[in-house]
Symmetry: C2
Subunit: 414 residues, 2 copies
């Protein structure tokens, strides 16, 4: 079966999560984090709308993940309530009750059903939620809801933990003479790894998606972006990426956008665009990272091999410390490749650091160490491996492993 | 089928790899490493004897691994020639020829067939072997062979790379009124991980093992020791653990020890004893490590689950940095557990840091943070996880992740 797909144009836009029409947001300081730091965020679509979310596969999934998984299962949500500073993970029955209470309070104040409210939490694991503080924060956040630029900014700030900058992205898509927007915010800088990279991300669009199109667009986008980044190979208990579609934009034919609609590809591309920008910011902000590294594996015998090889290289502490040291240590890349399980012919492997061939046909190539050191001192690097066995390719974004990573994580909780 | 197994006593012994009778060894400074550091080692059994070896599963296995795999395939070897400073890995056809040349030269000087000589190399990857230097080293090492305490010490030193101390172990076993010895040396402090942990280890015994018993004893011992340690989750291209049995000790009944012999269990236990000591030294010397950590998972529903859970926890950078920080951060342990793929009931998990319960039945237990910090400041710690789902248990040794790890690996090659 073939399906018509319209030509579209995607342009970056300002406005973050409020770039699309039909949403309000807020971020307030409740006191869950250090005093004065924003830590409770609400995103409101004003009425139940088409919604989708993907979650961590960690079997110790946190209470808010359990709550939100069932809340979004009918394909609609009205709002998300999010807190930073406490993950409400490994908190047992109390944690489940606390997540539900957050949804119930938000629903009561907004005037909707608790099942229309998604809940997400991020922060320390294993500590019961300070519910009076959280409750006061939710009340303040709902009172503060608005649709100005500053509201989007505050929402982005309120979901941060060890992040060093807020992560916002938005774009505008023109398709078949109409236009709609996609916006998003994200947090994440540690516990980042493939298979629902550890992070929270909330996206909005005013495109009139039905629930299935919403889910399909998010799933496609997450698979190509958030699931292709890694900071430390650890996957958190709280990962959540979510999309709500307000339908406030109208397209020419007036019909809802289904997965069969000619504009669906434009929607999926725009959601992927925003997710890719947010994913890139997350890796860029990897705990202690000094470099953003694209690990590209091409010439693999299968898609699985390409991805396994790229992920294993991107997760290797020895590769990541070499990148920190500005060392074109292709031997460690070869070692990681050999551990990946991918089909490899050792005599055909090429390894290129930042444009500099270091290994061709499995053996060393003489290269100028000074030129390599200079190229590797850039803050964005491509590490390319060509297996010369087939047509498959995969890219995983990673960062270097630094003293600062050890400092941040050796002293996070205490 | 039941099998008789004799009662035995194992006692630690001095002498390292030369504790068993029938071997000579040496370590010399050839100049592959920095001038003056020992870097070529030969271990000689004086005649072809029963031998076994296990190797890395990395598909980019180095040339000496390919050579030694076939050399030992008939169950006999006379000698090992080992160099440090260059791994002869990712060196293509030249590397294969160099490994063979090392065996051929050693065989010529000892007066045996090249197939009776195992070759092992460790050091930088992807650089051709400096063969004139290596050849001179082999000649000197064979001229220096001897059976005194100092020869064992020199052999242990000559296989070191980033190791901060030489690793030797030996024991004496008494069984059925006779006694024999097992000795060994090892190197390794980075690229250490399960599935043939990255390392070299050479063991000797004077027990009269046949080839099958030699292989069985080594395989059992490696599975319980070297394959249960991890420093950074990376597996090298050169891992080799080997055992030679000189037969110089005679046991009461005069028969060779087969796997069915009543003394076989004593042999396997003694080989395991030496491997366990060497494995422990390797983790203790993990690059930059300040703590030796035993991750014990018990109450698992299967052996596979117990091992997967212990390995995932032991490899998590977030757990390892928390251990460095002396932080009883059981939430990160729960996170890693949830990523391990093991069956887990989140409401039944207990987590105990250095004897201090921090999580019981999946939720936090109040504990004295000062007492925990004190307990975690010890240089040997047990991290215990009880899943309360079954009878299976596994232990993986690991170390903490420190600034020093980043320093060593950020500046290793350059």
């Amino acid at each position: 079966m073939t399906r018509a797909s319209s030509t579209y144009v995607i342009e970056s836009a300002d406005g973050g999560i409020l770039a699309p029409a039909g949403f309000s947001a807020s971020g307030v300081a409740a006191g869950i984090k250090r005093p004065g730091r924003l830590d409770v965020c609400v995103i409101d679509a004003a009425a139940p709308v088409a919604a989708a979310a993907v979650f961590t596969r960690n079997t110790m999934a946190a209470a808010p993940v359990s709550w939100s998984r069932q809340a979004v299962s009918d394909g609609t949500l009205r709002a998300w309530v999010v807190n930073a500073g406490n993950a409400n993970a490994c908190t047992g029955a109390t944690g489940e009750a606390d997540a539900r209470a957050m949804a119930e309070q938000t629903a009561r104040l907004l005037g909707c059903a608790p099942q229309d409210v998604g809940v997400a939490s991020t922060g320390v694991i294993g500590v019961p939620m300070p519910m009076p503080t959280v409750g006061a924060g939710i009340e303040a956040a709902i009172a503060a809801l608005g649709s100005k630029r500053e509201h989007a900014t505050q929402a982005a700030a309120a979901i941060m933990t060890t992040d060093t900058f807020a992560k916002e992205s938005a774009c505008r898509v023109t398709v078949d003479g109409t236009s709609f927007a996609v916006g998003g915010i994200a947090k994440g800088s540690g516990m980042i790894m493939p298979d629902m990279a550890t992070m929270l991300a909330f996206l909005t669009t005013d495109a009139p998606l039905d629930a299935e199109a919403c889910r399909a667009a998010l799933t496609l986008a997450a698979g190509r972006t958030f699931n292709r980044i890694t900071v430390d190979g650890d996957t958190s208990t709280n990962d959540t990426a979510a999309l709500m579609a307000s339908g406030a934009a109208t397209i020419v034919d007036g019909a809802p956008i289904t997965v069969a609609h000619p504009a669906f590809d434009a929607v999926a591309a725009a959601v992927t665009h925003v997710c890719a920008e947010l994913a890139r910011m997350i890796v860029r902000d990897g705990e202690g990272a000094t470099k953003l590294v694209s690990v590209v594996v091409r010439g693999a015998a299968s898609a699985h091999d390409a991805e396994a090889a790229a992920r294993t290289i991107a997760n290797s502490p020895l590769v990541k410390t070499a990148l920190f040291g500005g060392d074109a240590n292709w031997g460690r890349v070869a070692m990681a490749l050999g551990n990946s399980g991918a089909d490899v012919d050792p005599d055909r492997v090429d390894i290129v650091f930042a444009g500099i061939p270091t290994c061709t046909g499995g053996t060393a190539v003489a290269f100028d160490e000074d030129a390599a050191a200079l190229a590797l001192s850039a803050d964005e690097i491509e590490l390319l491996v060509d297996l010369h066995l087939g047509e498959f390719e995969a890219t995983v974004l990673t960062c270097d492993l630094t003293y600062e990573y050890v400092r941040i994580n050796g002293a996070y909780r205490t």
